[in-house]
């Protein structure tokens, strides 16, 4: 009824090329933005921010980053945790070295530093492919975590080996540390997520994204038709690491506040983000959102149902969660290898034809 292009005439190339060509889609997008920016900050409280919204926003950025690498460029990476750690530690060093500079600048710079590190570890991808590469990225994961654990300069020689986010503000509003109001931290992350999504969306539908996808689908064929694999792969690593670095910086500075690197950015984190991308949908920006939301919600729901309603011990609930997540991954790969995003696409296609499907 609502979701169709009929009657929505495009009179210029600009209109034809817009991100959401269907009117209903476009308005839905504006409504979501309006709710996220205009309503939620006024009704948010600490519990909602810390349990659901902040992790969702931050993981969504990481998932977008990883999706660019895995879903669009086809280079599987298990080093996400390590790159998030780079973002976090870069942000920490910048925050403590330049206390007067705005947090926006720090987070963006942290992303930039992570991009450089990402390119360094992406260099082997020119020679290594498939899961050989996946294993090679494990080197990044373990080496980086070890580095931040063992070199005292990174954690400013603190006795505990942890890093703690000092109190910093943006335009006079405190956004890090324990005194930061929930709405401010939420908005800060939301701005980064929105920008990331817009940038990623436009990169992936332009020339850059097309070369990435050509490399993903068949790298030798892509090379023959004139795609430069060096540039394509390294740019994918750079962009992906940038987003992952930003999310790592936010994860540390805004969400956790204090970080012990092995715990917060271990190999489990790499898998978690990879699962978000798989469940959400490889090669889809919306999928990154869906996957992040799903895997952030799942433990909370399980905890509420299992531990609070049924009164089971928490360790059983934690084990059940492993079983469910693992089972879901397998199930998704069997039934719907393109993830939640594909379900959404199918639903939209159905909606276009409804109520006359033939």
């Amino acid at each position: 009824m609502f979701y169709r292009e009929a009657g929505d005439f495009k009179t210029s190339y600009r209109d034809d090329n817009q991100t959401f060509p269907i009117k209903f889609d476009r308005y839905r997008y504006y409504v979501v933005l309006a709710v996220a920016f205009g309503i939620i900050p006024f009704i948010i409280n600490d519990y909602w921010a810390n349990a659901l919204l902040l992790p969702f926003l931050i993981y969504a950025i990481a998932a977008i980053g990883l999706n660019i690498l895995v879903g669009y460029c086809g280079q599987v990476s298990l080093g996400t945790g390590g790159f998030m750690a780079v973002g976090a530690y870069a942000c920490y060093k910048l925050m403590t070295a330049f206390p007067d500079v705005s947090m926006f600048v720090h987070v963006v710079l942290a992303g930039g530093i992570t991009a450089i590190v990402g390119v360094l570890f992406g260099l082997p991808s020119l020679r290594i492919k498939g899961f050989y590469l996946a294993v090679a990225t494990l080197a990044a994961q373990f080496f980086l975590v070890w580095l931040f654990n063992r070199v005292p300069w990174f954690y400013n020689y603190s006795a505990s080996g942890q890093i703690n986010a000092p109190e910093r503000d943006v335009f006079g509003i405190i956004i890090t540390g324990p005194n930061a109001p929930a709405w401010a931290t939420y908005l800060f992350c939301l701005i980064f997520l929105t920008l990331s999504a817009i940038i990623a969306r436009n990169l992936t539908r332009g020339t850059t994204g097309r070369t990435w996808m050509a490399i993903r689908d068949m790298d030798i064929a892509a090379e023959i038709i004139g795609v430069n694999p060096l540039r394509a792969k390294l740019s994918a690593f750079a962009v992906s690491s940038f987003f992952v670095g930003v999310s790592g910086a936010l994860f540390f500075a805004i969400y956790l506040g204090a970080v012990e690197v092995g715990e917060a950015f271990g190999i489990q984190k790499s898998f978690l983000v990879l699962f978000m991308v798989i469940i959400g949908g490889l090669g889809s920006i919306f999928g990154s959102f869906a996957g992040a939301a799903f895997l952030v919600l799942l433990p909370v729901v399980l905890k509420v149902v299992g531990a609070d309603l049924l009164g089971w011990p928490t360790d059983i609930v934690a084990h059940l969660q492993l079983v469910i997540v693992g089972g879901l991954i397998v199930l998704f790969l069997i039934l719907e290898p393109h993830g939640l995003a594909q379900l959404w696409r199918v639903a939209k296609e159905k909606l276009r034809l409804w109520p006359f499907p033939h």
Binding site: A136, V145, R150, P313, G326, I334
Partner: protein
């Protein structure tokens, strides 16, 4: 002989022994990869699962006791008997075969013909699933595993090296047993794949699925068999690691250590897995010995991966892997 050199020799020997244990896990990977082209990330968790099942059966634990107690409000934990190690090993093997059948029937059969990377991710999911099931079945606390393997310092080596160098080497008996068992296992596997009907069928499937199918080999049977053999290797590895450092979650992380071993040796070569394991074992121990103190220690965490990474840049197919030929 200078002290440093003697210490280095001891480290070298211990590295060899550790390498054998890595190679044991890596073997399971190679088997499945050769036969079905699946890179089985769950191999390490299978070792953990096997070890936990073994301990559980030996101690007469009630499977899923915690879950049953939580649902029905009962308090069952133990059957109240102890099973002898040998019987428990046979029973565990039965469980691993059952597991192999389930994996084949419910997961891999539906994923035939998918891209390798999809299969790889499916096994990651499988690893999580198995880990959760293992914890639910037997509880997640650290358990000790004792099937009667000798442990502790080998006095004979200690004395004889003391007589030669004036310094006794510390070599664990368990490591020696592990080396012997690994050698036997490799010999048995090679014999199996060369001289038995099923083994030949397995190699045929590895070579070409469709051709194998057309000469009347049942793919389903072969795949169940391969997963069972991998389960057997996992059981052996689980017993070794479990005896050495206790049955606990970190056992499954050993699978990650086996990955660089595979990359060095090549995914398709059984001797490669052994040699790769030895190189990694010796390399990381010597590196930790020589460089570790300078940079703050614990270099074992990453050395293997970085070594594999650097190595791969120069030889992407590994030491013994088949040459990768790509066509459009």
């Amino acid at each position: 002989m200078p002290d440093q050199l003697i210490f280095a020799m001891e480290v070298f020997l211990n590295g060899l022994m550790a390498g054998v244990l890595y190679a044991l896990v890596a073997l399971g990977f190679v088997l499945i990869y050769k036969a079905s082209g699946i890179f089985n990330y769950a191999q390490g968790v299978m070792a953990l699962f096997a070890a936990m099942t073994l301990v559980g059966i030996m101690n007469g634990q009630v499977p899923f006791a915690h879950l049953i107690n939580a649902i029905f409000g009962t308090h069952v934990h133990y059957f109240g008997w102890n099973v002898p190690a040998l019987v428990a090993i046979v029973l565990t093997m039965g469980v691993m075969v059952l597991l192999a059948w389930c994996v084949q029937r419910f997961v891999m059969r539906h994923l035939v013909g998918q891209e390798p990377i999809i299969l790889f991710m499916a096994t990651i999911g499988l690893a999580y699933f198995l880990e959760g099931v293992a914890d639910l079945m037997w509880g997640s606390e650290i358990k000790t595993l004792d099937v009667g393997l000798p442990q502790g310092i080998n006095l004979w080596i200690d004395e004889s090296t003391f007589n030669i160098f004036g310094y006794g080497f510390f070599i664990d008996n368990l490591d020696i047993v592990a080396t012997v068992i690994a050698a036997l296992l490799v010999a048995a596997l090679v014999a199996f794949s060369q001289y038995t009907k099923q083994g030949r069928a397995m190699r045929a499937v590895a070579d070409d699925h469709q051709a194998a199918l057309s000469v009347g080999i049942s793919l389903n049977f072969i795949w169940v068999m391969v997963w069972s053999v991998a389960g057997f290797v996992a059981l052996v590895a689980g017993i070794m690691w479990g005896t050495k450092s206790g049955v606990q979650f970190s056992l499954s992380l050993i699978a990650l250590k086996a990955l660089p071993v595979l990359m060095l040796g090549g995914f398709t070569s059984i001797p490669g897995a052994i040699v790769g394991g030895l190189i990694i074992g010796v390399g990381e121990k010597l590196f930790e010995f020589a460089v570790g103190p300078l940079v703050g220690g614990a270099t074992e965490n990453w050395f293997a991966y970085v070594l594999a990474l650097i190595f791969l840049v120069f030889r992407p197919q590994g030491l013994f892997g088949e040459k990768i030929i790509e066509r459009v």
